[in-house]
């Protein structure tokens, strides 16, 4: 080979390897190792930590997959008896709050006018000192109130102790589940000491009144499992589900029969079935003395009110008595009426009449909780909230602490909360996001998300066996936030000897550890963290003691006269947005509502023929008016709705909640009446009437389906499908196939 060629070849090979090197992207050029070698994690190999979800009160067990200190995926914990490895949309999306761009990253102090304020960052030392000074002057004077989500587990224990020591009363809790109504109804009719356990998995017939248990009610993951077992676990047995609800929810769609019932008449329907059972001689013996009081509720007599043909109820009664085991349950808007307790009792009567109270496949007493201190929390009633509002308005409340709940959003305008809030000199929020209430706060002491927190969680209503969920941090705290129970403990120590005595724990983690070690020693403390849950043995069934007494069913009162407000208003929870608590998570905004396919918006649903009578088409802008407020939204026509009902999803309409939820849609809770459930004091949020009028403008309504119901004529105004949205607003670079 000539030298020239040799040199050329040498040059080529050098160039060749250079060319190979040039394909390494710039971002791969640098390798940056740890400063301190982490003890627990191997780069690229995930660790899984067991914890418990607290997005709702079901308390499902959760496994978090963590890679190099970052949580990347949440899954259900197969060992937890409530959810056995499954998770709902709220839980799956909760990871987004951990790294949310709008998360409050450290303590804040208000600058400027309330409501319009800018917030300035402050250090924990400064904030705790300032807040501590203010609270110290108010300790023991019944001048400090705590507003929170329903109390649970060790967190509830700290909140309760703090609130009582400082303000003389426990926290006021806010929730739409109306648990008190369920408890009072269950106690009165069945003698149940706690929320009943519905053994749907072993039932062969389920009658559900208003409880969307597959979608949103109480513990949907658990009920979903039970439902699957009912349908598929027993060879040859499919089970029957009949669902009464004004709107076809997920449960209605899964049911063998969905019966649109006029809101407020569910109790009449239940008693109609009960009366039919008695007259057909199908009821268990021992209830003959109830026959006279049931006469008034014979299906023929109540057909005009309920709108249901008597024969339907007679046939249901026959099935309910002959298909065994059968169980009936009530919840949701059916008990959020002024007669809600009576409705719950009426539905429990059905269980008594067919003998499914206290039996497998029927209504049972759920597994309790073996730790007395964790059981003691009774949810507040709406009357307690109203009482708090009047104390705030009168100036008795000098400081309000808000944690885990957004009262400015959840409470209706008619409650007067927002005006009363202005009278409180000191408002402290512990929220992780700048939500409606927090924009009015003076100080923000942001909580950890539950993925960064310790806790012992009591599942509600819980599984068939007693269980306790273990909650542990799966990542180091991402920002400069502090767990609220710890903040309360450290504040409490500075507020005088009485308060300090009520909070005898050095830290919240210490309380959590001692809760486990008291129950089962150091072995249980380790096991609970490893497995995420403690499961007890099935306790002997609490004897269900029926109270057979004459049942009175008062009519449900509605707010608004039928002549002025012709429609019943039906605000409904959705499996993704729930009551708005997670509207800031874009995964949940992106998830279509199951029946209407609506995303990123709110809307009102009108039954198809009712809309035609009013001359409304899909997408029309309307104003909805109740006796207590008004809102604007666009119309969605639905065949799955009672014609006298206007339904609207809850969850949107936040004035503030981060970039994904702020100023989006409208909040149906704002226009509701402050009605109260007799006998329990809960909020009868199902009892408001409304009227409708067409307007020019309303927030847009987006669906992921093109075809509205009925099929749209020539592009209705304001109706925007996701396809339209993509084409109008997102620039395409030409590479996407637009031929679909």
């Amino acid at each position: 080979m000539k030298r020239r060629d040799f040199l050329k070849l040498g040059g080529l090979s050098a160039t060749g390897s250079l060319l190979g090197a040039c394909t390494m992207p710039h971002r791969a050029r640098t390798v940056v190792p740890y400063v301190e070698q982490p003890a627990e994690s191997i780069p690229g190999v995930p660790n899984t930590y067991a914890t418990t979800c607290t997005m709702c009160r079901a308390g499902c067990g959760m496994l978090a997959r963590v890679i190099e200190g970052r949580a990347v995926k949440l899954e259900g914990n197969p060992a937890h008896p409530v959810n056995r490895g499954k998770l709902c949309a709220l839980a799956q999306a909760s990871l987004q709050r951990l790294y949310h761009p709008d998360r409050i990253q450290g303590p804040l102090r208000r600058q400027g006018e309330r409501g319009n304020a800018s917030f300035q960052s402050a250090s924990w030392e400064v904030v705790l000192a300032a807040v501590g000074d203010r609270l110290r002057a108010l300790a023991g004077k019944d001048a400090v109130a705590v507003l929170s989500a329903p109390l649970n587990g060790t967190r509830g224990r700290v909140f309760e102790s703090f609130a009582r020591a400082l303000g003389g009363r426990g926290p006021v809790t806010l929730d739409l589940e109306n648990e008190e109504t369920l408890l009072v109804g269950g106690l009165a009719s069945l003698g149940l000491p706690r929320l009943p356990f519905y053994d749907i998995a072993n039932a062969r017939m389920v009658l559900s009144f208003g409880a969307d248990f597959l979608g949103t009610w109480l513990s949907p993951v658990q009920f979903g499992r039970f439902y699957g077992a009912m349908r598929q676990d027993r060879p040859g047995v499919r089970g029957t589900l009949v669902h009464f609800e004004p709107r076809m929810s997920l449960t209605g769609a899964c049911a063998d029969a969905w019966i649109a019932v006029r809101p407020g008449t569910e109790g009449m329907v239940a008693l109609g079935i009960a009366q039919s059972l008695m007259t057909q001689g199908l009821a268990k013996p021992g209830f003959a003395d109830m026959a006279p009081s049931l006469e008034a509720h014979a299906p023929e007599r109540t057909a005009a009110d309920t709108g249901i043909q008597p024969e339907v109820l007679h046939e249901l009664a026959r099935d309910f008595a002959t298909i065994s085991p059968a169980l009936a349950l009530a919840g949701g808007a059916a008990i959020a009426q002024t007669n809600g307790v009576s409705v719950a009792e009426a539905v429990h009567l059905l269980n008594l009449l067919v003998g499914s109270a206290g039996m497998a496949g029927g209504v049972m007493a759920g597994g309790g909780v073996p730790v007395r201190e964790l059981q003691a929390f009774r949810p507040s009633r709406f009357q307690d909230v109203q009482d708090l509002v009047s104390r705030m308005r009168s100036g008795r409340i000098q400081a309000l602490l808000v944690a885990g709940v957004d009262p400015s959003y959840l409470l209706p305008a008619s409650s007067g909360f927002q005006e009363a809030l202005q009278k409180v000199p000191l408002i402290i929020s512990f929220s992780s996001v700048m939500d409606d209430t927090t924009t009015w706060a003076d100080w923000v002491l942001p909580d950890h998300t539950f993925l960064e927190s310790w806790g012992v969680v009591v599942p509600e209503p819980g599984a068939e066996v007693p269980s306790l969920g273990s909650q542990q941090p799966v990542v180091s705290p991402v920002f400069d936030t502090r767990p609220t129970p710890d903040v309360l403990l450290s504040l409490g120590r500075t507020l005088g000897p009485d308060v300090a005595r009520a909070l005898p724990w050095g830290s919240y983690a210490e309380l959590v550890e001692s809760t486990w070690t008291d129950l089962g020693g150091a072995e249980l403390w380790l096991k609970a963290r490893q497995e995420g849950v403690w499961v007890g043995k099935a306790s002997p069934q609490v004897q269900v003691r029926p109270a057979s007494r004459p049942l009175t069913l008062p009519r449900s009162e509605q707010s608004g006269d039928a002549s002025e407000y012709p429609f019943f208003f039906y605000p409904f929870l959705t499996p993704n947005l729930h009551d708005g608590r997670a509207a800031d998570l874009p995964h949940l905004q992106e998830l279509p509502e199951l029946m209407s396919a609506g995303v990123w918006s709110s809307w009102i649903e009108l039954q198809v023929q009712a809309a035609e009578r009013m001359g409304l088409v899909e997408g029309d802008a309307v104003e909805l008016r109740s006796p207590h407020g008004k809102l604007r939204a666009r119309v969605h026509l639905s065949p799955g709705l009672h014609p006298d009902v206007i339904a609207m999803p809850m969850g949107q309409g936040h004035r503030a909640m981060g970039r994904y939820a702020s100023n989006r849609g409208a909040n149906p809770l704002a226009i509701l009446a402050p009605l109260v459930v007799q006998g329990s004091g809960d909020w009868a949020w199902g009892g408001t009437r409304v009227r409708l009028s067409k307007v020019e403008e309303a927030p847009s309504f987006t669906r992921v389906e093109r075809q509205p119901w009925p099929p749209q004529k020539a592009g209705g105004p304001g109706f925007l499908s996701l396809q339209d949205l993509r084409e109008q607003t997102w620039p395409w670079d030409g590479r996407h196939d637009r031929s679909r």
């Binding site: 190979g20 090197a21 400063v35 070698q37």
Partner: protein, 163 residues
């Protein structure tokens, strides 16, 4: 002709200067001139002493500063480069090493599998005990990997490395 010689000259210059481009044969300049020849060749320190994750997971990785500090808090602390490392450790400032061995994103390589199969580190990474400055000893292109896989009866299915 002139062009060819020009390219050769530039290539040679780049190799000789040891620029910060990596690739087979190139030994880039590192922020700290860590010398494998002294640590591995002379002191006979085992690879997995500093790179423990090679036997545990997909990435062998570069040792953390705490690994260096564990010895160098007492070993030759007056050496100027040791001083730089210990200061970085105290300031919690990681060293930003220049990558020598690079595989593109569409290749999934797991160190653990290969180490557990008994393949010596030197097989792919070269005889580091003779390298004062690390360079990529083999081309590590697909043919290179396949030749070894074929010789050792390891799977050569596409999905083995591309998934």
């Amino acid at each position: 002709m002139r062009l060819g010689r020009g390219i050769f000259a530039m290539g040679a210059l780049l190799i000789l200067k040891g620029s910060a481009i990596a690739g087979a044969g190139i030994a880039p300049t590192q922020p700290i001139p860590f010398n494998h020849e002294t640590h591995v060749g002379k002191r006979q320190i085992s690879c997995v002493f500093c790179h423990p994750y090679a036997a545990e997971g997909p990435h062998a990785g570069i040792p953390s500063l705490s690994t260096c500090a564990d010895c160098h808090r007492v070993v030759w602390p007056s050496h100027p480069d040791v001083i730089k490392v210990m200061q970085a450790y105290q300031n919690r400032e990681p060293i930003r090493w220049v990558r020598v061995t690079y595989l593109p994103d569409f290749v999934r390589f797991t160190h653990r599998r290969h180490v557990k199969a008994g393949i010596a580190c030197q097989t792919c990474h070269g005889d580091l005990g003779t390298m004062p400055r690390v360079y990529q000893a083999r081309s590590l292109n697909m043919g290179d990997c396949l030749s070894c896989h074929r010789q050792n009866n390891a799977p050569t299915d596409c999905l083995t490395c591309h998934y």
